[in-house]
């Protein structure tokens, strides 16, 4: 802000963002947010113009997840605001700290069905951790500080701040006070580890079940130390991938619907399940009453409401994982169980010796994973390619694998990769997508072009909505309803229209050279990998089945 202009609500917004260390935001202008975009003109905050508000929201999510910082997006009133909603719902479901700023029609026009007026404040109730509507500019500074505090405290999540146009334009004096601490925080009891300690020392077949909360609690070192010191065999959820040390002999991979057979069998057989920042999601448990049926449960979480929500807990430990997990870290005598689990792991190893000339997607993703530089950040969209990426790629940190876990939002991967690349300009970022998913936010190729964002896109193309097609084949008598995408556009030509280098491969013997060419290219690149439309993701726990009833073929 120059000294000659009085500070407005819009200018105050950017001052507070800078106060909180926000340097990058994602958004799209429009009528009811014009005073904020006018203030942006004088601000040091760098704004990235996305080509759809949903793209802006997912770029902010990707930014937050890749960097561990807060993501900020903004949009105008009405359709701009409603277009943010899917991103907010995704952030709420995956506990991602996000601030969404929406412009609103002037306060005098609110409630009159004004042009581009929608009740985004009301709409936000089900898809945010909290939301505010600012009725007077004097409230704005405090509200913004509160928004940051709420988004980042406890179980993180998205917060929406709706600012009417007249509030954005009103002059204001900044008082530079930070927000008062939240006074109504849920009070967590001091961790009582007595029961947990008893369960742990008496367990013969314990399993460590690690979720996305570990990365969010910044407790990766503590979890790895716990796994190593106790020697407890460990499994991960989709969102927990990267938290555990992949080289630990007792780590047996992802559990759940598309988890490894070893992970699901070991969990089924365990007598103690130590859930760490995980919430017994239905994609993890399969048929709930047959999930780890003989196990006692120790549940570490920051969110009181997750305790006993889906599975009764024998020993809940609420609070900061980083402080609490070391209390249970001790050597155990479980060699017989370790040997059994390691045998399961060896018997269930992945195979990549796929017959024929056509490209086998799991092998491609394994090779991308082997060849990509250290600290590469991978994003995915949703569907078969997502599960293959989770199964066959290896990550050393959850911030290097960004996937829409709970909401399962197609269209997540490309804008999330843009946000990730902006937050980590020196790391390689790869968006693994599918031919169905990429079309959901394909307009963001224009954002890549505009800012020359060097994201690599690995497009697994089976000309199908592959996961739905797989389920139709397996569970709906092969009645393939609306899942054929044989009329997809020419993806390479599409990429080139946005000045993005592109290549299509169709045969196995082209894979290695193509991956290397993509990784060596300095700018953005799209690698279209044509695969057999009939390939399925295996193994699979069928709906309403126990995890030990996995299908390994049709």
């Amino acid at each position: 802000m120059t000294d000659s202009k009085p500070l407005t609500g819009g200018g105050l917004l950017f001052n507070v963002l800078e106060q909180h260390g926000v340097h990058h935001i994602f958004g799209y202008p429009g009528g009811a947010i014009m005073p904020i975009y006018d203030a942006l003109y004088d601000s040091n905050v760098k704004h990235f113009l996305c080509r759809h508000e949903q793209g802006a929201a997912f770029s902010a999510v990707g930014y937050a997840r890749a960097s561990g910082k807060i993501g900020v997006c903004m949009a105008t009133s009405g359709p701009g605001a409603t277009n943010l909603i899917t991103g907010l719902a995704d952030a709420l479901a995956d506990s991602i700290p996000l601030i969404a700023i929406t412009g609103q029609v002037p306060t005098a026009a609110m409630g009159s069905d004004a042009f581009q007026e929608t009740d985004i404040f009301g709409l936000s109730l089900a898809c945010t951790k909290h939301s505010f509507q600012v009725h007077h500019v004097d409230e704005l500074e405090d509200v913004l500080h509160q928004a940051f505090e709420i988004a980042l405290e406890g179980r993180q999540g998205p917060v929406l701040v709706d600012i009417p146009k007249d509030v954005q334009m009103a002059t204001v004096v900044q008082n530079f006070k930070s927000a008062a601490p939240l006074k109504n925080k849920v009070k967590l009891p001091l961790a009582d580890i007595t029961k947990a300690l008893d369960l742990l020392t008496h367990a013969k077949q314990p399993i460590l079940y690690v979720g996305g909360g570990v990365g969010m609690a910044n407790a990766i070192d503590e979890v790895r130390t716990f796994a190593k010191t106790t020697g407890i065999p460990s499994v991960s959820t989709l969102k927990g991938l990267g938290a555990l040390d992949n080289t630990n002999a007792n780590y047996i991979g992802m559990l759940g619907m598309h988890g490894t057979k070893a992970a699901n069998l070991a969990v089924h057989d365990c007598d103690l399940l130590i859930a760490v920042g995980a919430r017994f999601d239905d994609r993890v448990t399969g048929k709930l009453d047959q999930f780890a049926p003989d196990a006692k449960v120790i549940h570490f979480d920051i969110d009181t409401a997750e305790i006993n929500k889906r599975r009764k807990t024998d020993a809940p430990i609420l609070g900061d994982l980083k402080a609490n997990l070391p209390l249970l870290t001790m050597p155990l005598n479980i060699e017989v169980w370790q040997t059994k689990v390691q045998e399961m792991k060896a018997n269930c190893a992945w195979r990549y010796d796929h017959p024929g000339e056509s490209i086998f997607a799991p092998a491609v993703l394994k090779e991308v994973s082997d060849l990509m530089p250290k600290n590469t950040c991978v994003t995915t969209d949703v569907g078969q390619h997502q599960m293959w990426a989770a199964q066959h790629m290896t990550f050393d940190d959850p911030c290097n694998f960004l996937t829409s876990g709970s909401m399962g939002t197609m269209g997540f991967g490309l804008p999330a990769a843009i946000g990730a690349q902006i937050s980590r300009p020196h790391d390689t970022v790869i968006a693994v997508s599918g031919d169905g998913s990429i079309m959901m936010n394909v307009q963001e190729l224009a954002t890549i072009k505009r800012y020359q964002i060097p994201v690599k896109i690995v497009l697994i193309d089976n000309a199908k909505l592959g996961m739905v097609r797989q389920w139709q084949d397996l569970f709906f008598d092969g009645r393939l309803s609306e899942t054929d995408l044989a009329d997809n556009p020419d993806f390479c030509m599409l990429a080139r229209a946005f000045d993005i280098k592109a290549k299509q491969i169709t045969k196995k013997n082209e894979v290695t050279a193509a991956i290397n060419e993509m990784l060596d290219h300095n700018g953005p690149y799209l690698l279209q990998v044509k695969i057999d439309a009939c390939e399925n993701v295996w193994p699979l726990v069928p709906p309403n089945s126990a995890n030990n009833e996995m299908m390994e073929s049709a």
Partner: protein, 95 residues
């Protein structure tokens, strides 16, 4: 077909008198699987704290709802009024 008994509970909720707090409570209550059978609310203007008495029914344990309402930013406390709650399944009475 749901054959589990519906239990009736009375929740006493103390909350800061903030924007849309009542809507938030009602939204969470509906989403988490509880029917709203009645509601009374009043605000103490001296301290801006509202007291909401919410009559709900569900086949789900009331603790699930209490934990979710408690997470709302403006909520100060949530308690079950045991005197008025009618429990058809005594095993779920512990809340």
């Amino acid at each position: 077909m749901n054959t589990l008994p519906f239990n009736k509970y009375t929740l006493i909720i103390m909350t800061d008198d903030k924007q849309v707090v009542l809507e938030r409570i009602l939204q969470v209550t509906r989403y988490r699987g509880f029917l709203i059978d009645g509601i009374t609310a009043s605000v103490n203007n001296a301290n801006n704290i509202a007291t909401i008495e919410l009559l709900v029914s569900s086949d789900r344990p009331i603790t699930l709802l209490i934990d979710q309402i408690n997470k709302l930013v403006d909520i100060k406390s949530v308690k079950v009024d045991n005197k008025t709650s009618q429990l058809s399944n005594k095993k779920e009475c512990s809340a």
